[in-house]
């Protein structure tokens, strides 16, 4: 019933508006078309100026509204570069935005049709065209130069001492694998995946796997000041490791391994102080639509000191120990005859 009433009401409002429009049409004829048209033209020109002024005021208000709601300072060096480059781009585009919009609305007002006014016949001017081809081209060249420098920084090979951690997306959570004491991630194969006791399909014939630690709650522990290289993978569909606080993002694509490296520079505790938010947490958002639970595919990052990290690491059982309490290494050897031996952590060479 309420639906019916709402629809009727809306229809009624529409009819009223249309009748007003219609009435104004008749009124135009009665009062003299030319006169009314000129009057309307003046009103519209004035309204456009009002819209522009209100718009500028609105932008000001919007900036105030969002003040304090934006991301805190970037938590890694490349992120700082991002913020710097972002500000430059905002300034360049901002100037162009204000100038062109101001000119657009000012011309609308200034050159509104008037009695006995004729337009200036001005079909082309090559000098002007050259000027406004060159200036944007130079501006773009500068932005491209800054951009590519940062781009190659972000995508450069990770330093050799970077800690390698694997992060794998699945519907709908993140699995994080640490290499354990041997500092090496073992091989894995998607055919060995078993949700009960082998979520990443670790190949138990590979001794490197025995001490690997898997965190299934999507918690990524990092050490401040230590570069980390993420090996990003997916078990099912495309996901994306979104790290807004680090200004980074990389897709997780089934079948290939992508990488991302950075050096966290602010611990979670320090960030709590910076943001005055005791609940602050670095979040990993899935940024590629991956199904109905996409919006809930949340991971977290804990950036801590080396001591805190070591303490946490010591408390983590290896995935093997946690899931195969009875399985002896010999029994696990059986599927080793698998002929399709596959190197599963194959990296996409970023060259």
């Amino acid at each position: 019933m309420s639906v019916f009433i709402i629809i009727t009401l809306i229809a009624l409002v529409f009819i009223i508006i249309y009748q007003i429009g219609k009435a104004s049409e008749y009124a135009t004829v009665l009062r003299g078309e030319e006169k009314v048209k000129a009057q309307t033209n003046r009103t519209i020109a004035l309204l456009l100026v009002v819209v522009f002024v209100l718009g500028m005021w609105g932008i000001w208000k919007c900036n105030q509204l969002f003040d304090g709601k934006m991301l805190p300072i970037a938590a890694c060096k490349t992120g700082e570069n991002f913020d710097f480059m972002f500000s430059i781009t905002v300034m360049v585009t901002g100037v162009v935005f204000f100038l062109t919009q101001a000119v657009l609305f000012w011309f609308c007002f200034k050159y509104q049709a008037k009695d006995k006014q004729t337009s200036f016949y001005f079909p082309h001017n090559n000098k002007l065209e050259i000027i406004w081809t060159t200036i944007p081209a130079i501006a773009m060249a500068i932005l491209v130069a800054i951009g590519l420098k940062n781009w190659f920084d972000v995508t450069s090979p990770a330093p050799p001492d970077a800690k390698v951690i694997e992060i794998v997306g699945k519907q709908f959570n993140w699995l994080v694998r640490y290499p354990g004491k041997d500092n090496e991630l073992g091989k894995r194969d998607f055919r060995k995946i078993n949700d009960a006791n082998n979520v990443l399909g670790l190949d138990w014939t590979d001794p490197h796997n025995m001490d690997d630690i898997i965190s299934q709650n999507g918690e990524l522990h990092l050490v401040i000041g230590k570069p980390v290289k993420l090996l990003i993978g997916s078990r099912d569909v495309i996901h994306d490791v979104g790290l807004p606080h680090f200004r980074l993002k990389m897709d997780a694509v089934p079948g290939i391994t992508t990488t991302l490296w950075f050096t966290p520079s602010i611990t979670t505790e320090q960030m709590k102080a910076i943001t005055h938010n005791p609940d602050f947490v670095y979040e990993i958002s899935c940024d590629q639509l991956c199904g109905k639970g996409h919006y809930s595919m949340r991971g977290t990052i804990i950036v801590e000191t080396q001591a805190e990290y070591d303490k946490w690491m010591a408390s983590q059982p290896s995935y093997y120990a946690g899931n195969n309490p009875s399985a002896a290494p010999a029994a696990a050897g059986a599927p080793a005859s698998d002929s399709t031996k596959k190197e599963s952590v194959k990296e996409v060479t970023m060259k």
């Binding site: 249309y18 399909g201 970023m350």
Partner: protein, 606 residues
């Protein structure tokens, strides 16, 4: 068939005024079906595209209202939604599956069915024969097929809304493996099959139309209508068609491979997948391959949507500024530049897929190059209204709004095209804001400008001005209020395509702003319904057109009778002597000289 109804009247000269009260042609009265349904008349086909497009636009934007309700008010229930959506909104709250289905359908419908078919279908059909001076398209039959393939595509897409597992829900880009595997999502079931069939038919429609437009423009120009005397609308529609003809087949190949992966066990896009509790046999495919094929159309598609608006805005601006478009040749060259660059920038949608950084850097360079021809166009539009004599018709307002929105949306493209910035902004609300302003609202403004401007040519009546002004101001202000705040959310990293943000420490404090955006979106939606009502009522009750050339335009369509028959001109097709932007004193007190007026002695051609 067209020959039957065109009587070549040697005595009816190009003085079209006399032809209006001259209804004495013999012609066979066509049957209703051939005249209005399976019509081969470009004018009727254009109306068919427009009306189908409007119906789709209402459906598509209604969907956005539904999911904006969820985004704005995630804790509330709206029993009214249950009335529309039934099971999908049990108790008045959208289910996540259907939220994603709505998002996907909103994108597919608006991008393809409204802003591609509805926009170039309408105006290419209407304007090309009119403005180049042809009696119809090169192949009226193919033109008819083009509409009916679109109609068929529409039927399949519409049907997919009602299947039990819901329509496709993997986003309008439908990336595999999500879209390829039934286990991955409910929408990847029969709904996705229907989506693929529908889109394949759509490609057929688009190719039939596009080829026709190109051939007509190249071959069927009237005497004197050299390429450099074509109005910019035609140039824009020409490049739109070229883009479509060259890139839609690539999408088609991508879709066919996806159909194979879904149904015939191939592994083009699938590799090393464990889903639904088992490992799939697919190995060696590449999910990224689909993205390359998709965006090879997907990016030119953006310009397929933008160019008609650019052309129409140029035409409407010049006509209502009573001043020639500034830099006609620069406008054409910039269109050429945009068209060429459109083909070599597709991978800027894929900076974060793990593609080679070097390749990425090439795409950065090429992408930012597009800013140059775009800037040239903007400066030329601004110079066009400098020292003009502007009449603010509703069409003119929408053309000016188009320029304003194109600037705003274009500038944010400079952020996203630069990979070092995209790596943070990718798939956030910044992207949503960017493309909605530039190829959503701005393209719509181009379309509205076209509808208000050529409505009299289509239906012989005017749309109501007052309602048009209300429509413009609410839509213009509303669009900025909706999308401006979204930029900030995106800079703060808020991801797009989320059903609910309340569990996220980093994004939950934007709730109030999301609610505000949703309210504005609803206001703007209802304002569009107001436009639709104005459109429909004006077809039957609008103020009648009494003069042939109500806007004082120079182009050929205004030399046809108020209600042109199939064949457009009752007599001979008029000859063209000058470029289409001679808005200057004709010596008789008029401020324009139609293209059909011969050069005066001593007058130099443009």
């Amino acid at each position: 068939m067209s020959n039957e109804i065109i009587i070549e009247g040697p005595n009816v000269a190009h003085g079209a005024e006399s032809a209006t009260d001259h209804h004495g042609h013999e012609h066979h009265e066509q049957h209703f079906i051939w005249k209005y349904i399976f019509s081969q008349d470009h004018k009727t086909i254009s109306k068919q595209f427009l009306i189908t497009g409007i119906i789709w636009a209402i459906i598509g934007s209604l969907f956005s209202v539904f999911f904006r309700l969820q985004l704005g008010f995630p804790d509330s229930t709206f029993p009214i939604m249950e009335k529309f959506l039934g099971e999908w909104a049990k108790g008045g709250k959208l289910s996540p599956e259907f939220y994603y289905a709505l998002v996907t359908m909103h994108g597919t419908i608006l991008v393809f069915f409204v802003l591609t078919a509805g926009l170039s279908g309408t105006f290419a059909n209407l304007l090309i024969p009119f403005q180049v001076g042809a009696r119809d398209m090169a192949s009226p039959f193919m033109n008819m097929l083009s509409y009916w393939f679109f109609f068929l595509a529409s039927i399949f897409m519409f049907t997919s809304l009602f299947v039990e597992t819901g329509p496709a829900s993997g986003g309008w880009t439908t990336y595999p493996p999500l879209s390829a595997l039934k286990e991955a999502s409910m929408g990847s079931g029969i709904g996705m099959d229907l989506w693929l069939i529908s889109m394949s038919l759509f490609v057929v429609s688009s190719l039939l139309g596009g080829l026709n437009y190109i051939v007509t423009i190249l071959n069927m120009r009237t005497k004197g209508m050299t390429m450099t005397r074509l109005p910019l609308t035609i140039w824009a529609l020409f490049f739109t068609a070229v883009l479509g003809v060259l890139s839609f087949p690539v999408l088609f190949s991508g879709l066919v491979l996806l159909i194979f992966d879904r149904n015939f066990g191939t592994s083009f896009y699938l590799s090393e997948i464990f889903i639904g509790g088992k490992a799939l046999p697919h190995i060696g495919g590449s999910a990224i391959l689909y993205q390359h094929l998709f965006w090879f159309l997907g990016h030119p598609e953006v310009y397929i949507i933008m160019l008609p608006g650019m052309g129409m805005a140029s035409e409407v601006l010049s006509t209502n500024a009573r001043k020639p478009i500034f830099g006609y040749f620069a406008m054409i060259i910039s269109l050429v530049g945009i068209t060429l660059l459109a083909f070599v920038v597709w991978a800027h949608h894929m900076f974060v897929t793990g593609m080679s950084p070097f390749l990425g850097s090439i795409f950065v360079l090429l992408t930012l190059l597009i800013a140059v021809p775009s800037a040239v166009k903007v400066f030329n539009w601004l110079t066009t209204i400098w020292r003009a004599n502007i009449r603010f018709t509703p069409a003119m307002l929408f053309a000016l709004g188009f320029v304003s929105l194109f600037i705003s949306g274009g500038l944010t493209g400079i952020f996203l095209g630069n990979s070092a910035l995209d790596i943070h902004l990718h798939d956030t609300y910044f992207v949503v804001a960017h493309f909605h302003i530039v190829m959503g609202v701005s393209a719509f403004f181009g379309m509205f400008a076209g509808i208000y401007h050529w409505f009299p040519k289509m239906f012989g009546r005017f749309m109501n001005n007052t309602v048009g002004y209300i429509h413009f101001f609410i839509t213009f202000i509303g669009a900025y209020l909706i999308f401006w705040p979204m930029h900030y959310e995106g800079i703060a990293g808020m991801p797009r395509r989320y059903y609910d943000y309340s569990a996220w420490e980093s994004f939950k404090h934007f709730q109030g702003i999301n609610a505000f955006i949703s309210i504005m979106a609803m206001i703007v939606f209802f304002t569009q319904l107001l436009f639709v009502m104005n459109f429909i009522v004006s077809i039957f009750r609008g103020r009648k057109m009494t003069t042939l050339n109500p806007w004082g335009s120079t182009t050929l369509e205004w030399t046809t009778p108020i209600h042109p028959e199939h064949g457009n001109w009752p007599g001979e097709i008029p000859e063209v002597y000058r470029w289409p932007y001679d808005y200057k004193d004709d010596g008789n007190g008029n401020d324009f000289i139609p293209q059909t007026t011969p050069l005066r002695p001593g007058e130099e051609s443009h």
